[in-house]
Amino acid sequence: MKQIVVISGKGGTGKTVLTASFASLAVNKVMVDCDVDAADLHLLMKPEIRERHEFRSGVTARIDRDICQECGECLSVCRFEAITEDFRVDPVSCEGCALCSRICPAGAIVMEENVSGEWYISETHYGPLVHARLGIAEENSGKLVAKVRQIAKGIADKEEKDYVIIDGPPGIGCPVIAALSGVDLALIVTEPTLSGMHDMERVAQVSKHFGIPTKVVINKYDLNQENSGIIRQICDQSDIEVVARLPFSRVVVESVVRGVPLVEFSKNGITGDVVRLWERIK
């Protein structure tokens, strides 16, 4: 079984469009959407939810105003600016450390468990999809990513799947590291812009740091051929294979508007490149 994650550093370079196409091309696979704050893969996979689970994680402080003496101890120890001058907890800023609750002399602060999201096991035309929705303005996205990965891996083991195909989040922080850990291949989708290149180099360092085999796709390579050449040089120097160059194509947006994987929406042009890309990494 092979786990492949699609990441990018910079957002909006084409991770989900490629993941959905791989989902269509691969046989015998499970899909996972690890971009839990802004999950979009389901818009192309049209899942039917089979199982729905609460994601409980962490706690949030609540001050009982009837007991509170307004002594200010909690305000002085909170490092997350989560307690307001009028002794209310800003649940969005509270990181659940519980220090306020422990030091409150009046015992006025209780910690309440958060339901910080939901995760789902769904059936799709392409196979099982494990996805999630982080609650609004909730934290712990890294833990939710780890959760959906673990569930997908379990399904893949049990049903003897050949692939786990993972749509990764942007950035290089907590959720990205959770999406990368233990995969067999990280495919970085970049674009020939200074931002795309800068972010690709940073995320490639992260995947190298964790010892993950890494390959690169240059999307919209023809928007700036010179920069595409530079990306190739950067990759050569760091021993990263550039597995494909995909042209800019309005068909991509049309396929998203239609809500189907690119490789099913169009049979020519860029689709051929994506099919060849899958053949090289599978």
């Binding site: 957002g11 370079t13 802004a38 800023s93 659940g96 950035g171 922080g173 998203v256």
Partner: protein, 288 residues
């Protein structure tokens, strides 16, 4: 006035809007709070005049004071401390601290009965400040392999200079790094694209801002490639659409080379100025 630029979906044009808006106004400070992948400097090429290491406090144990009572481990909400009591000779005793899990809340240090813990600084990134013309510029860069971006974002925001118009370039998404970035803004501009992905993630971002009670408006980028979903959503929710920026290969090419498009397409300067006027007056407090 503090204006943050956020999006939900990545790659919709947050940095483009932040940079070009900043260049269209006077007396601006730009804070790049996308500390995982900061990009604004690629466009502004600021002259940096200061660089500071950003740290978070993590606990360190003094073994001569510690009696391995386990209190620190018990109070740590993040499982960042493990204590092995060992035997009476203290063989096998020890305190294990996992810095990557530590949120730097200070509970262990404050609550240790023997005062055996003290905090030391752990480097998580750097903050650089500089100027670009008369614009003040600050950004944070998270070190590769670090996961705690919110503390670094909060430290970047300490550089905020309130007598200027502060423009904050936020990271994508809807979770903690975004919250830390947009918190305290007078207004947030959500940049989106007119596709089902753009709409889906815009809806989430709108929910975040409503929860945070921050007024907001929307800029639709590449507004002619996609469908009408975003426009009708904004209309139905009475959300002001502040600007449409149609797809333009020239803009895309300028972007790819790190050139802010208002330097070549000067008509947009006026559009950004007008938008600034509009949000400075009429929109404040109209939403949420």
């Amino acid at each position: 006035m503090i204006i943050s630029i956020a999006s939900g979906k990545g790659g919709t044009g947050k940095t483009t809007v932040a940079v070009n808006l900043a260049l269209s106004l006077n007396n601006v400070q730009l804070l790049d709070c996308d500390v995982e992948e900061p990009n604004a400097h690629l466009f502004l090429k600021p002259e940096m005049h200061s660089k500071k290491v950003a740290t978070i406090p993590i606990p360190q144990v003094d073994d001569t004071l510690c009696d391995y009572c386990g209190k620190c481990s018990e109070v740590c909400a993040y499982n960042a401390i493990a204590v092995f009591p060992g035997d009476s000779n203290r063989k096998g005793s020890g305190v294990l601290i996992f810095p990557h899990l530590c949120h730097g809340c200070g509970a262990c240090t404050l609550l240790c009965p023997r005062k055996a813990l003290h905090e030391v600084d752990k480097e998580i990134g750097v903050i650089e400040a500089g100027i670009c013309g008369d614009m003040h510029f600050v950004h944070g860069k998270l070190h590769v392999g670090e996961i705690m971006s919110p503390p670094l974002i909060r430290q970047v925001k300490q550089y905020m200079y309130r007598s200027r118009t502060v423009i904050i370039d936020a990271p994508p998404g809807t979770s903690c790094p975004v919250i830390s970035s947009v918190k305290g803004s007078d207004i947030c501009i959500l940049v989106t694209e007119p596709t089902p992905f753009g709409l889906h993630d815009l809806v989430l971002a709108v929910e975040v801002l409503e929860k945070m009670k921050i007024p907001f408006g929307v800029i639709i980028n590449r507004s002619d490639i996609g469908d009408g979903g975003v426009d009708s959503f904004c209309k139905s929710k009475n959300i002001p659409v502040l600007m449409h920026i149609p797809f333009d290969k020239e803009i895309a090419y300028l972007y790819s080379n790190g050139i802010p498009f208002v330097t070549e397409k000067r008509e947009y300067r006026r559009k950004f100025e007008d938008m600034f006027e509009a949000i400075g007056g009429g929109m404040k407090g109209t939403k949420t």
